[in-house]
Subunit: 137 residues, 4 copies
């Protein structure tokens, strides 16, 4: 299966998930990097990016990494997501998510996602995510 | 420590989390039930409630259950959230979250949250959540 | 599929997992209760049951609950196990594990397990466990 | 706090956890590598290393990595351990665990552990582990 390109993945997200504003920055070698531009709608009281935003970005990073490996399989669904929140995100920096696939099996894929505030090397949060892959005809 | 009432918790959420629209339905005995009214903004393609909405509702259910036990401690923060997605939510039903605290320690609290589509008994998703409780003066 | 009985499950464990000494106490209604008799080999310094023993007992409780529903499927394997350690087990009491299946699908089953020291109502640890079920011919 | 050496950690394990036979291979830079020599007592039917052995090795790898950073704090305890089982371990190879600490805070430390069969590059299992660190006097 030929890997999908950044442009193909970005086009797919814009068509199928028009409400998402993530930017696909890089894919390849079982990895993907995406960016979520942060605006006021992503913040919570205290001036920080809300936890659900981090979870959503991690989930999309895993989805992008997985599709880049197996092709466009829109019915792949998250079955488990486990997140550890480690540090408080900056309110004025984008969120960058780097996913690394740990295994892509026939029916399950597992990956880990590291979340950062752009330009800051300390990890904000760490996610492990499992997707179920539907049988392919 | 006297437990907080439904009204006190609802008032706190409306003041401190004005962007959240959850309704506190019941608290007590280390439990809390909340409801998220679902509208188009909560859906994703395929006509179902998006995963991040479920994660956000579970996180708030745990927060409400915890504050009902320890009082208003706004600095309590989620350190870990692990969710298993079990069934596809209905697009036209509210989400109901029932949290049960498993332990409230001095520095950590752990709870589980069961998520349902209103009026449907099958579990949509199951969450285990840990909060860190800041030292109280 | 007719449910298996306590005796059938106990016989299966004794034949296929002779190194395990757990006792199947009850099965039915998507639940199972098992007991691990505790001796010195299960303890760690400090006079408490070691964490790996708790994890092993939880995993077997989930296996027993699952097999009681789907029949003897020896190739069902754990894919994810997440445990929260809540309280220190007594060194001189057996460990009792109660599993409740949250979903039994075609390829995945998810359950939660509550672990207790026998005769003590406070929860020692809480586990969520996923098994992959191989295709049945 | 000066980091502990491999020898200091090995001596501590041998004194305080005499039932464990893990070998500390390397520590430093928020990382630790340990090895579990595998014999028949670690196997389960089917000729593979049992899941609880993998969980135990991951937990010790995290403990060694943490102590190498904060010094000998015997009362540090695991609060959460989440493992994804990815591939079947070889029965005739030692288990090697590499832990990388993601955060060492005042009261909590989080790390991830990658588990391998010695000499095989495919990941067997991936673990995320949280330890609670007691207040230091």
């Amino acid at each position: 299966m030929p890997q999908l390109t950044v442009k193909q993945l970005q086009d797919f997200l814009q068509t199928d998930f028009p409400q998402s504003s993530v930017i696909v920055e890089a894919v390849g070698d079982q990895c993907a990097t995406i960016r979520q531009v942060i605006d006021g709608s992503h913040l919570r009281p205290g001036g920080t990016v809300s936890g659900p935003v981090l979870m959503a970005v991690a989930d999309i990073a895993m989805y992008v990494a997985l599709l880049s490996e197996i092709g466009i399989v829109p019915l792949a669904v998250t079955t488990n997501l486990s997140i550890n929140f480690l540090r408080k995100p900056a309110a004025d920096r984008d969120i960058v998510a780097q996913c690394h696939l740990l295994k892509v099996g026939k029916t399950l894929a597992v990956g880990e996602v590291s979340l950062f505030s752009e330009g800051v090397s300390d990890l904000l949060a760490h996610v492990v995510c499992t997707y179920a892959i539907p049988p392919r005809v």
